[in-house]
């Protein structure tokens, strides 16, 4: 029996994970992927664990994916959305969470619009905290499932060339992906309009390419991001139409390449903007595999953290 232990009690960001942590999560997810393909997709591991999903920001697939992962592990689950809660009445984050914890909750899955919310919480409470996205900071489970999907398709992440296309500036997915892929030995470029790429992003060990065709020619995999209009307080691009012309990926663009590339997207897709339907639904796309792998990865993270004393 191989014992596995994460080096951390919380999953706050990819930054805190070691390479062996990431490999352990992948190996554990392999086991859960196998469980998810059985007629009975449930295991009893977390039957005495209660998990609260605290979502202070909208989410569809992350919330569903976490909830399904928790239920597949037999955990008791409570859900909370900021819109329908006392947050609207002025309660602080810590007060809300302490109230939830007094109901004997063991783990917190937190999505919050402010960067560092999960880190703050982990310092104040005893329960395990999992960051399900904090502002423009990190979204670790998304990065893990993206890297896991690459590993599944190519056997290994090491040495692969990955370009992250789109609104890198406002994307927690981009930041977590860059850190995760670099840790696993991939080469990473970012591509997008200069206004949507942070200055000094090269310090993370990535290269910047403003020309999408050149970036696609270079890469094995393109991870395409959504334009996050809700996080943009000023206009960063002249129009969505112009963005689609310069940075939208369509079939014609892929046909011009001298090799086939794999298309990924964390969702939700703005069809016709960053990705055309003829690409999103093509055989090059592993978008739905990402969603499927998301449940296995989240089961692995919950399992490994819950087992940590």
């Amino acid at each position: 029996m191989e014992s596995g232990q994460l080096s951390t009690r919380h999953l706050l960001g990819i930054q805190d994970l070691t390479v062996s942590d990431i490999q352990l999560i992948f190996r554990t997810a392999d086991g859960f992927k196998d469980v998810l393909n059985r007629p009975i997709k449930k295991v009893p591991s977390l039957r005495d664990v209660t998990i609260a999903n605290l979502f202070f920001e909208n989410s569809t697939r992350t919330k569903l994916s976490f909830e399904l992962a928790e239920k597949r592990l037999s955990a008791d689950v409570i859900n909370f959305s900021a819109g329908s809660s006392s947050v609207a009445k002025g309660e602080t984050l810590l007060d809300t969470v302490n109230n939830v914890l007094s109901m004997k909750v063991d783990m917190i899955v937190l999505r919050h619009p402010i960067q560092g919310a999960a880190i703050y919480l982990s310092r104040k409470i005893n329960a395990n905290v999992i960051n399900a996205g904090d502002g423009t900071h990190e979204h670790p489970t998304q990065a893990l499932l993206d890297a896991y999907s690459i590993r599944e398709k190519y056997g290994d992440v090491k040495g692969k060339k990955i370009v992250i296309v789109g609104d890198v500036k406002h994307s927690r997915v981009a930041l977590s992906n860059i850190i995760c892929l670099k840790k696993l030995g991939a080469q990473v470029k970012v591509c997008g309009p200069p206004t949507l790429i942070q200055k000094h992003i090269q310090t993370l060990g990535v290269k910047v390419e403003y020309n999408l065709d050149k970036a696609l020619e270079w890469c094995d995999i393109a991870n395409v991001l959504r334009i996050q209009l809700e996080r943009q307080d000023i206009k960063y691009i002249p129009s969505l139409r112009e963005y689609a012309i310069y940075y939208g990926i369509n079939k014609q663009r892929l046909a011009r390449l001298d090799h086939e590339i794999t298309i990924m997207h964390p969702g939700p897709i703005n069809r016709g903007v960053e990705l055309n339907s003829d690409v999103a639904d093509s055989e090059h796309s592993i978008i739905l595999n990402q969603v499927e792998n998301g449940v296995a990865i989240r089961m692995a993270v919950l399992y490994l953290l819950a087992g940590t004393k």
Partner: protein, 183 residues
Amino acid sequence: MPRGKVILNELEFGITIQRLCHQLIEEYDQFDNACIIGIQDRGSILSDRLIGQLRDLVSGDIEYGKLDISFYRDDFRRRDTVIAPSPTHMDFIVEGKRVILIDDVLYTGRSVHAAMSALQQFGRPKSIELLVFVDRRFNRHFPIQSDYTGLSVDAIDQAYVKVEWKEIDGKDQIKFFAHKVKT
């Protein structure tokens, strides 16, 4: 580090595996409607050996799987470390079949209990029998007994019995330690 006492040497080790194979053939003949399932990860080393010899002795094919029980263990969150899972290889269901479950050491019975829970995910077997290499008879936590036993060992709770395999430990033998050692 304590060296441990060899309680079954290489020659006896081989003979014991051979004997277990023949005992199974006596009961299951051509293994029609039967399957062999090794418990990951050390039980499946024994089942690999058994299936290798059985396939030479039996004319038909024998259904064979390996079952990981990590997610079904009842000591989750009660141990210092989490047990990382091994792969499950089960490309058949056990519905209506006679299952022979295989593990290296039967001690508290908790692993076998977990294996039976895990097995339920693959259907309702007609029956389950248990084959173990070593049966430590006096330390059971559950009412679970083996149907085929390589070697019975009576020892106090602090003692530790380890089945060593050529492919992992360099030599086929069973060792007895007065106290559990970290390996």
